[in-house]
């Protein structure tokens, strides 16, 4: 629907705004690695769509908060300048549910944003100490 300007939006419509496509993801706020949550596979689809999970067919996603998801959350937090916790904390979920461009943030695992500029190894010994590399800019 197109509205020439904000005042052209009918009141009845303003009072009945439908929920956003990702509002239900807020239910995952507070989820942490190593546990299982109903429906978490849908969030993995989200992360795969935007390039944060690779090499996994969506039909195989489980509801486990596994290493792949934790790695995706960390890369996402890095890209969006959030505290890198690997958990679906409130600040992270507030970003995840925001409307956004459909173009992936990470393409073919090679780009981009902040996480592409770090040598970020997801092994446990490096999670708290990502290595920073300078990039010619």
């Amino acid at each position: 629907r197109f509205f020439p300007n904000p005042s052209s939006i009918p009141t009845w419509m303003s009072n009945n705004a439908p929920p956003g496509a990702w509002d239900a993801y807020r239910n995952f706020t507070g989820c942490s690695p190593g546990k299982t949550y109903d429906g978490l596979s849908k969030l993995k689809n989200y992360f795969q769509r935007f390039g944060y999970i690779t090499n996994a067919p969506p039909s195989n996603f489980t509801d486990d908060f596994d290493d792949a998801l934790e790695s995706a959350v960390r890369a996402y937090q890095q890209n969006f300048n959030l505290n890198v916790t690997g958990e679906l904390d409130n600040a992270t979920m507030n970003y995840i549910v925001k409307p956004r461009c459909g173009v992936a943030d990470i393409i073919n695992g090679t780009t981009s944003m902040n996480s592409g500029k770090f040598n970020f190894n997801n092994t446990s010994e490096n999670k708290e100490n990502p290595k920073f590399h300078t990039v010619a800019h």
Binding site: G20, G102, I107
Partner: protein, 191 residues
């Protein structure tokens, strides 16, 4: 700023690109002007200009509003969620989600509808992709991936300008008066 893998761009020497709207949409002139304004944001700072053509099939950039699965493997998801997507050079496809409540002009921040999305803000962002820019982590940048509803953001910042000028050079008339971002000013930031 970032680029797509391989840094695809329009061929060297490209000075102008044409754009056309899917004729099935029959957009009014006010809406078309929003896209013209969005293209102009990029023309002001770089070497490429844009002009509308009525020939959808031959246009360099093809703009359309579509719902759900529309045949490019990137289905839209209804209200909010993904708002639009565009392809890297030289593909030219620029798709917007027909399910959104698009506000064409006026102050979208005054909207009483919580889902209202500013059309020009999204258009400026997607044109960046059409020209070869990927997403940026600079929150003030046009190429930042998210935009809240009832938000207007149409002015390029230095991060966007640096990126596009890296690809195509600077418009000789550009005076470099764009606003800086907090990251530009943060000398402790190491990149």
């Amino acid at each position: 700023y970032s680029f797509f893998p391989g840094e695809p761009r329009w061929p060297a020497g490209t000075k102008s690109l044409t754009y056309a709207f899917d004729p099935n949409e029959n957009l009014d002139e006010t809406t078309k002007q929003v896209f013209a304004n969005a293209f102009n944001q990029w023309s002001k700072v770089t070497t490429i200009t844009f002009s509308e053509t009525t020939s959808f099939s031959t246009a360099d950039i093809k703009i359309g509003f579509y719902s759900g699965d529309h045949g490019d493997g990137e289905a839209f998801d209804g209200v909010l969620g993904t708002l639009a997507h565009a392809f890297s050079p030289t593909d030219g496809r620029f798709h917007l989600d027909k399910a959104e409540d698009w506000v064409v002009s006026g102050d979208v921040t005054e909207s009483t509808l919580s889902n209202a999305v500013d059309l020009e803000s999204v258009a400026v962002h997607e044109i960046g992709h059409l020209l070869g820019l990927g997403h940026s982590s600079v929150e003030e940048a046009i190429m930042y991936p998210t935009i809240s509803s009832k938000t207007r953001k149409v002015e390029l910042v230095n991060d966007d300008i640096d990126g596009i000028q890296q690809l195509y050079g600077s418009n000789p008339n550009f005076t470099g008066t764009s606003a800086t971002t907090s990251r530009d000013r943060d000398s402790s930031y190491g990149f």
